[in-house]
Structure formats: C-alpha cells, structure tokens
C-alpha cells in the first residue's frame, strides 16, 4: 500500500531539478510511473515527494532535429513511439524494440526515458539505444550536460545521474545508410523482461562486414556494447566461424546474474545463442 506522498508538478525541467536538489532522498521523479508505482505499493521505496514530469510542456515530444537526430523527451511514452511513422521509418530498431516492451497497458503510459533511468538489466530499450549510440541530455540544478548512454549505466540499477539531475531527453543519431538492424529478445512470456536481449546494427559491403555494433541487456548487471565481438567481425564475411567467435567474445564479456527467470550459467549460454541469432537476422535483412 502506497504511503502518504506529495505530488509536485513543476513547469520546467529546471524546476524539477531544483525540487530534486531541495528534497534530496525524499523526492523521486515520476514520468509514466509504470515501474515506480509498483515499487511504492510494495513499499520498496517510500519517498515523501513525487516530482511529476508530465506537467512540463513539450517534454513528451518525439521529433527529428535539423541534424537528422531523433529526440525523445522524458515524457514520451512507448506508445507515442510505437505509433510514430517517424520512428518506424527512420529508426526501425527502436520500433522493433519498443513492441517487445512488457504489455500494451504498460507501453501506453511507460516512457523510454523512464526505462533507461530505472536501468533494470532486463529492460529492452538500452541495448538498442547503445547500438544506435544515443546520448542523454541531463539537466541538473547547476546546468545541463550531454552524456553518451554508453557511459550512463554504471552498475546494477545504478546510473550516472546525480540525485538532483533529470534525464530530459535522449538523442538518437540517424541510422547510417544501408545499415541493417535487429533486436532479439529471449524470454518465456511476452510480458517478462529479457533473459537476454541482443541488438545488432550491421553494415555489409560486398559480402564483408564493414561495421558491426552489438549490445546486450539481460546478460549483465548493466547493458553493454560487445566491442571485442564487434571487432572480430569487421572486414570479414559473416560465416559460421566468425559468428561463433563473436558470440564467444560477447559471452566472455557478460557477467550474468541469477534471478527468478534464469540462472547465471544459463544466461551466459543464451548470450552465445542469441548473439549468433541476432547477427544472422541482421545479416539476412542486410542482404535484402
């Protein structure tokens, strides 16, 4: 049962950051609330203040900037992206990922930025965002900074956000011409978090891999880019030997954990299986 709480509705991100600075540990940001509210119910946390982002004008926008980047505001729901032709056409990996997030009810209210900030290792969006080399615009009471998402996830549920900072927007660069992408999620029920989720972006030229980006969630306490695996593919055809090697390197990098859905050992093994499958899926799309 949720404890008594005050619901604060700042008019700007700066004001929200100011409220966080003032109330410290006693305040929590709330966007869609889809992860937060169940935590409040179970009394895992009992903040005195909820600072809502919903009242901030313009924060729910999903739009393209002049440089061709996709900008996703902290209030933008999964549904907004799921139904956005802009996202579907320009960032198909994001669309493919969002469709696999939990259930429609949750996507209708939950936000992409919220998923990133909660940094649950089984959440789907981080792998895709890492592969697309997204950046976060972070607003604190002292000002604003930009941070590549690659440097955002620090440890289990821990991020680079300071207590008084708000992740206001995520910037996703345009997908390189000709790059093929895929996100494979392995879980037993569609509603579940990923046991392993693998996002791949692949550029092929004359049968050889020009560029490969691979990122995983579920596999470790934090989502990560499998850079050694990526290196092992560059310049080579995607034959069985190279795919096996990439999968082996990605698995080696994983620090899998045990939870109710899978043991650490099994997770590690699935990293190997699904990196291979994701590479093959992307390659197939690349060759179309």
């Amino acid at each position: 049962m949720i404890e008594e709480v005050e619901f604060l509705e700042p008019a700007s991100v700066e004001e929200a950051a100011g409220l966080l600075a003032r109330h410290g540990d006693e305040a929590k940001l709330i966007a869609g609330g889809q992860t937060l509210i169940p935590m409040l119910w179970q009394r895992l946390i009992t903040p005195r203040y909820l600072v809502s982002l919903k009242s901030i004008a313009g924060l729910s926008a999903v739009e393209k900037d002049r440089q061709g980047n996709l900008l996703v505001g902290a209030g933008a729901t999964h549904r907004t992206m799921e139904t956005s032709p802009l996202v579907r056409e320009g960032w198909p990996l994001l669309a493919e990922t969002i469709e696999k997030v939990a259930a429609p009810q949750i996507r209708n209210l939950g936000t992409l930025v919220g998923d990133v900030c909660h940094s649950d290792y089984g959440a789907d969006p981080p792998a895709a965002l890492l592969v697309m080399e997204a950046r976060a615009r972070i607003v604190g009471s002292g000002g604003e900074r930009w941070l590549p998402l690659d440097n955002f996830f620090l440890d289990l549920y821990g991020t680079a956000l300071a207590p008084d900072e708000v992740l206001a927007q995520i910037e996703i660069p345009a997908v390189p011409d000709g790059a093929a992408t895929a996100y494979l999620k392995y879980c037993l029920r569609a509603m579940d978090p990923a046991i392993v989720g693998v996002a791949v972006m692949l550029s092929m030229k004359e049968g050889r891999c020009q560029d490969a980006r691979i990122a995983l969630n579920g596999a470790s306490p934090v989502p990560y880019r499998a850079r050694l695996a990526e290196q092992a593919l560059k310049g080579w055809p995607l034959d069985e030997g190279h795919i096996d090697e990439a999968a082996r390197l990605a698995q080696e990098q994983a620090e899998p954990m045990s939870d109710s859905h899978a043991s650490a050992e099994y997770r590690g093994r699935m990293v190997n299986v699904f990196v291979k499958r994701a590479l093959r899926a992307a390659e197939e799309r690349a060759s179309r």
Binding site: M1, E3, E4, Q42, R43, Y186, L188, R189, A190, M191, D192, D259, S260, H261, A262, S263, Y266, R269, M270, V273
Partner: protein, 762 residues
C-alpha cells in the same frame, strides 16, 4: 443417446450477464458500515521461537482498533481441512496448527494481526510491532528433513514424518519384477505449484450481540470452514454462518481454513466488522501450494506389454503443517494403482515436514506427483518393448467390470479406448510418430492417459444435499451447499433440475454456499460436485415433480398414474388438449390446494466413478535454448454425460493451459533462508495468452450409472496430462528424457546435454 431438453445443452451461465457487467460482487467488493481493515504481521524467519511481542507502538497509533498476538491465540490445535471424516479416520487426524503459535515454522507464518480504520493505518501499525525471535535450526528439503539428526519442524514428529507412511500392497512386487522381461527404475521430481486464483483470499467477519458470527469468505468449502472454526473459536457450528460471495477462482488454493480464524478473532476483539484481504505476494508465499514430491518408481512388463509389477515410493513435502498432506498421499494411492491392471503393487508415501509454507490442495490432487512418473515410465517401457505407446496403454488399462485394487469399487463406465483412438486419429498419431525431426528446432508428438475419481469415496463420507421449493409462478428455487468458484456448477445443477421438471434452466433460481440457508455439502474438491451434488439435486427435483403430479391429478381430476409430462406440460393420457402447464399447477397447489411444494434429498454415492482422458500434444523443442513450445493439443475426455458441453470444454481448455504452466515453468522456489524467490506474477511464470496452443477437445460420453444423467467429474483430471504428454513429446523430438519438472529451458537443456553425452539417439 437419449436427447434431453436441458441436460447436454450448452446453456448460458446463469450469472454470465452479471459477470460481464461487473454486477457480480466478490468478497473483495464487500463493505459494511464501521468496517475495519486488517493486515497480518508475518515471520521473516523460517523457524523461530517467538519471545516478547511489544505492541505498544502500534496500539498508540490513532485508528488502530484491535491487535492480536500469540496471547490471543485460542488454546487449541487444529487441522485446517478437518471435517467430514468418518470416525475411523478422525483418530489418525494430525492437529498441528494454531492460530498464532509460540513457534513459527515458515517464512510468512502469522505472528500478529491488526485491524484499523483503513488499510494504510493497519500496514503502518505492523511496522510498529516489535517481536523478539529466537531463530531455530531449519530444514528445507524432504531429503534433508529425513536425514538422521535433522532439525525437527514439530517436536512431536520424530524424523519429520507425519503420522505413519501411507502403505498399500497387493501380490508380490519382487516376484512380479522377477517375472518381467523389462524392468525400469527411475527417480522423478515434481515442484511446488501455486494455484494463483485471480482473486486473492479475502474474508469479512462480523459478530452480533448473541455471540453469533457471520463470515463472508472466498472458500471452496463453506461447511468445512464452519466445522474447523467451531473448534478454533470454541463455539458450536450453529453460531457460525459462512457465506460464499462470488469467488474469483480456487483450483484447490481455497480448500482449507486459512485467514478466517484471524479475521473472526479480530472482529470479536474490535467489536466491529473486519475485512482481511491478502496481497498477491502473501497469496504466493503464505497460502498453500501443491506438495513438491520425489518419486522412485520401478515397473516391470512382459514382452507382450503386460505389466507385472509397479512399485512406487513417494515423498511429499508438506511444509510446516500437514493440512491435506495425508489426503494427497492417500488419494495418490488410487491414482497410482487404479489406471493400469497389475497383479503386483506396492505403494508407500511419506509425508514430510519442512520449514516452508504449508502444502495443500491443488487441481490434480493426488494425481500429479505419481502420474507424471507412471506415464513417463509407460512410454519408456513401450520403447524398450518395441511397442507403440498407445498399444501398451490399451493393453493394460482397467476395463468396465473390473475392481479398483485399492477401493474394490467395480468400474461401471470407461471411455478411455475411445479417447485414445479418437485422439490419435485427430492428431495424426501414427504418421507423425514415424517422423523424425532434425535441426535446431525439432518437433515431436506425445501423449498420456489419466484416470481420476469423482469424489473422495471411500476416504471421505461423500455427501451432498439439496432443497427445492416451487414458486407459484412455476419457477423453482434450489438451495444447495455447493461452492461455485467459477466452474459453473450452479448452471449445471439448474440444468438437472430443469430437465427433471421440464422447465427452462432460467426458471431455476439457485442459492448456493451459505451454511445458514443451504443444506450440507462437503465442498468443491475432488471433481465431485456434478457427480455427487448433481444426484442430490436430481432426487430433490423428482420429489417436487411427484408433488406437482399430485396437485395436477387433483386439478385435472385424473389418476396419478395416467398423467403424462411433456415439455413442461401435464395432461391425462390421451387428452393433450386438457394440458396444464407447470406454472398453472404450481399456482393451483399454492393458492387453491394451499400446499407448498418442496423437495429435499441427500445423496451419498455408491462409489467414485472415475473419469478418464487421453491428451495428445505436438511440441517444438529448441535444442539450443531448451525451450519447449506446445503447438497443438488434442484432448479427449471421458466425462460421462456432459451436462453442459460448453462448460466442459471450458474446463478442459483452462485445465490444459494451467497444465502447460505446471509442466513448463511453474515452480515456487525458495532461497537458502527459506524466503520465496518468485512470489509474484512477474516472477512465477503462469501462462499468458501468448502460450495458447491450438486446442481441440473431444467429449467422450459413456453413461455412468451412478451419476445424474450419467455425469462424472472433470475438474481435476484436466491439468495432469500436460507434463507427461509434453515430456514424452520432448523425448520423441530429441531423444532426451526429462524426469524433473518443470520442463523448463534449463532442465530440458540439461537433459539434452546428458543425452548427447550418453550418445542416445532421437
């Protein structure tokens, strides 16, 4: 087959309109003036002695109206399912439970309870109660609990074994094994499953000034709750009224006294109505589960497939208290010995205490833990003998006219051959069995057969009663003690009454599950209600019919024996133009003849009319991940006469999906301190709609002479087939045999690794 006007028709649920518009009120919807809200403080220790409990902080919190602790616990021990036992069994009854004990024996056992003006105050109050726990050594697996020197869960039970092992033997097992051409011995394990009815347990209690308590509770067994509460509260049954509101699912999970004593005691202490609702995590962690089990099974067969011996040793993990433990062990003995004819049988079951939550009833009661082993074994025996799995089953299964070895009841109806043949035909068994799948994702096909009793005779004094009163509009009101938790029993009983009287089922008003108003019934368990209560209702309806005939005879000035009943009208033989309707006769009886027409009956069935099924599955096994997907199910069920075919299908489809969850993923697990690991829907994997295979149901309807219109039970049996059918299909697809449930990706992958290691072929 006889054509009936109501029985055998898919009559719409009586309460369907109310359910689809949310007019139906569940226990969670009840509110009374002045009602308080309760919460339970639960032990964080798996085994501990309770020392001082300081409630002063909680008592000082404004809005707190009553607090209960060990000091308020009635000085009696009880068994949460005790009732309806014949005297012979009562002396063996283990009464090991208290409302609040000085020793807690599992994580989540109640230590104290609070009633307050609202739920938030009650939750805050719990945080202010200070308890001194003295931790005691604990034990979490039955194997550890049976080891010499293991900590004792109950001091009175040396070796942690409840009572004496359940034992049955017939013939000479060693001799039978010696005569066999093939002998197989294996160990199987099955996990703890949670029933997870969608509505969590809820109870409202309210006392009057005469010392009488009314309790609205989400139970499957209102009369048995009354019986146990009488002992716990120290008052007689007549001072307790149990009312079942609509209950949001049970499946066995609501088949024992659980939160009612705490709720009643809080209401008494506070002098106000009290409502107690469990959270979903309490539901997972603190209500009963299926008994986890280990079974060592030896079976022998001759070259022609004839079974020569079955020897099963079962260990059931009952958790902290016995509750249904001995009942499951006993009913499992029928499941084990009943389905296949075998001259040499031995069955032994030990019910073992551990420091985990109490195990209890769950759909598939007494079958699940023994038939996954037996049906896996049957396939392996068939393979060793070069036989088709269907052939070995058809050769050995019990036939009409044969006695059950355990109960000595003679089988009077059996549609199993038809289930097997028709199921095999529809799924394309003979062709698909020949196909061998290759590659990463492999397909396979498997099946199993299950037999299950309708009711718990001879172990319980099975009985149901019914009262029917005729209203002056010709409709009738049926009072029945049965518990409708969603399976649709009220509609089925209304159809039986309607059939008997030649009226529409909508003309039968049903009041069920109120111990003050309705006659006695043992409750909703063991697939018994259509079979037992159905006959009680039919008898009561026959009495109403005969009294209506008397009135009609007077009204028509015709001799009783000359009256013809036809489609709700009555006329003297040869004179249909004189026909009067049931409403006319009812009105005549009430207002002219001045007689109230009523019928009453009690029924105790002569035996337990087993139902049968053959369930076929096609699966896909991903050999890299170990993941199994069920693609198609053909489910053939001998249900006796299907009173309501649509509801029968619904039972089968729902049972199959539960069965798929029980088989593939569901497994309530605990960490090394006895805390549940996956006590949430997000972590305990019940199937969602994305798991639904193509399901084809086949109703096979041999007439069971001891059931109303030939009906038998259907509720329990339907969940049991999926685990052995899927395990057999996995073997067919991959050559890997999985003997540990669930058939989860990890367990399947392990079996695949082992089968590769051993060089076994698919």
């Amino acid at each position: 087959m006889t054509e009936y006007q109501s029985v055998g028709k898919s009559v719409t649920r009586l309460e369907a309109l109310d359910k689809v518009t949310a007019e139906t009120k569940y226990g969670v919807d009840l509110k009374f003036p002045g009602m308080l809200y309760a919460r339970i403080l639960r032990s964080p220790y798996s085994h501990a002695r309770i020392g001082r409990i300081d409630t002063s902080g909680a008592a000082a919190l404004p809005g707190v109206r009553a607090i209960l602790t060990t000091d308020d616990s009635p000085p009696v021990s009880y068994n949460a399912v005790y009732s309806g036992l014949s005297d012979k069994f009562v002396k063996h009854l283990v009464q090991d439970q208290r409302v609040f004990d000085e020793v807690v024996r599992y994580v989540g056992e109640p230590v104290a309870a609070v009633a307050a003006d609202d739920p938030l105050i009650a939750e805050r109050a719990l945080e202010l109660i200070d308890v001194d726990y003295e931790p005691l050594p604990d034990v979490f697996t039955p194997e550890d609990a049976l080891a010499p020197g293991a900590p004792l869960v109950h001091d009175e039970s040396p070796n942690n074994i409840v009572g004496r092992p359940i034992f049955f033997q017939m013939g000479d097992v060693e001799k039978g094994l010696a005569e066999a051409d093939v002998v197989l011995q294996e160990r199987y394990t099955t996990p703890r499953h949670q029933g997870t009815p969608m509505e969590p347990h809820v109870c409202v209690a309210s006392w009057d000034r005469q010392g009488k308590v009314t309790i609205w509770t989400s139970t499957q067994i209102p009369f048995r709750v009354r019986f146990v509460l009488a002992r716990v509260l120290g008052i007689s049954e007549g001072r307790i009224r149990i009312i079942m509101p609509q209950v949001g699912g049970g499946f066995g999970a609501k088949q024992e006294v659980s939160i009612e004593p705490i709720c009643a005691l809080l209401a008494k202490k506070a002098g106000r109505p009290v409502k107690l609702e469990l959270s979903r995590s309490e539901e997972f962690a603190c209500t009963t589960t299926r008994h986890g089990a280990i079974m060592d099974l030896r079976m022998g067969a001759r070259k022609d497939g004839t079974l020569t011996a079955m020897d099963g040793r079962l260990i059931l993990d009952t958790g902290a208290y016995v509750a249904h433990g001995l009942g499951v062990a006993t009913l499992a003995s029928i499941s084990f010995t009943g389905i296949y004819r075998c001259p040499n049988l031995r069955y032994e079951a030990k019910v073992v205490y551990t420091n985990l939550s109490t195990s209890g009833a769950l759909r598939g009661f007494g079958q699940y833990q023994v038939l996954f082993p037996v049906e896996s074994h049957m396939d392996m025996l068939a393979e060793r003998l070069g036989m088709d799995p269907l052939e070995i089953r058809m050769k050995n299964h019990i036939q009409v006219g044969e006695p059950d070895p355990r109960t000595r009841f003679i089988l009077e109806s059996c549609g199993l051959d038809e289930c097997i043949e028709e199921g095999a035909r529809r799924i394309g068994w003979h062709k698909k069995r020949q196909q061998r799948s290759e590659g990463t994702v492999r397909r396979g096909i498997g099946m199993s057969c299950i037999m299950d009793v309708s009711g718990a005779k001879p172990f319980l004094p099975e009985q149901s009663a019914a009262m029917i009163k005729c209203n002056e509009d010709g409709s009738v009101t049926l009072l029945t003690g049965v518990a409708d938790t969603g399976q649709g029993i009220r509609t089925a009983l209304a159809q039986i009454v309607a059939e008997e009287l030649g009226i529409g089922a909508e003309q039968v008003h049903v009041t069920a599950g109120d111990t003050e108003i309705t006659p006695f019934d043992l409750g909703n368990y063991a697939s018994r209600t259509t079979y037992v209560a159905g006959m009680a209702v039919r008898k009561a309806a026959a009495e109403v019919k005969s009294k209506l005939s008397e009135a009609a005879s007077e009204m028509l000035e015709a001799r009783l024996e000359d009256l013809v009943w036809e489609a709700g009208r009555i006329y003297p033989k040869g004179a249909p133009q004189k026909a009067v309707s049931v409403p006319q006769v009812a009105r005549y009886a009430q207002h002219t003849k001045a007689v109230s027409i009523m019928g009453t009956a009690t029924h105790t069935p002569p035996h337990n009319a087993p139902g049968f099924q053959a369930h076929f599955v096609e699966v896909e096994v991903d050999t890299e991940t170990g993941r199994v997907k069920v693609q198609r199910v053909v489910a053939a069920n001998d249900v006796g006469k299907a009173i309501n075919p649509q509801d029968c299908e619904g039972q089968i489809e729902g049972g199959i999906l539960q069965g798929i969850g029980f088989a593939l993923s569901e497994d309530l697990r605990f960490d090394e301190s006895g805390h549940p690991i996956n006590a949430r829907f997000s972590e305990y994997e019940v199937p969602g709609p994305d798991w639904v295979p193509e399901i084809e149901t086949i109703l096979v309807e041999p007439i069971e002479p001891t059931g109303a219109y030939g009906a038998k039970g259907i509720g329990d049996i339907v969940v049991t087939s999926m685990a052995p059918s899927i395990a057999n299909a996995i073997y067919h697809a991959t050559g890997a045999r999985v003997r540990r449930l669930p058939l989860s990706p990890e367990n399947v992958l392990q079996a695949l690794d082992e089968s590769k290691g051993s060089g076994a072929a698919g």
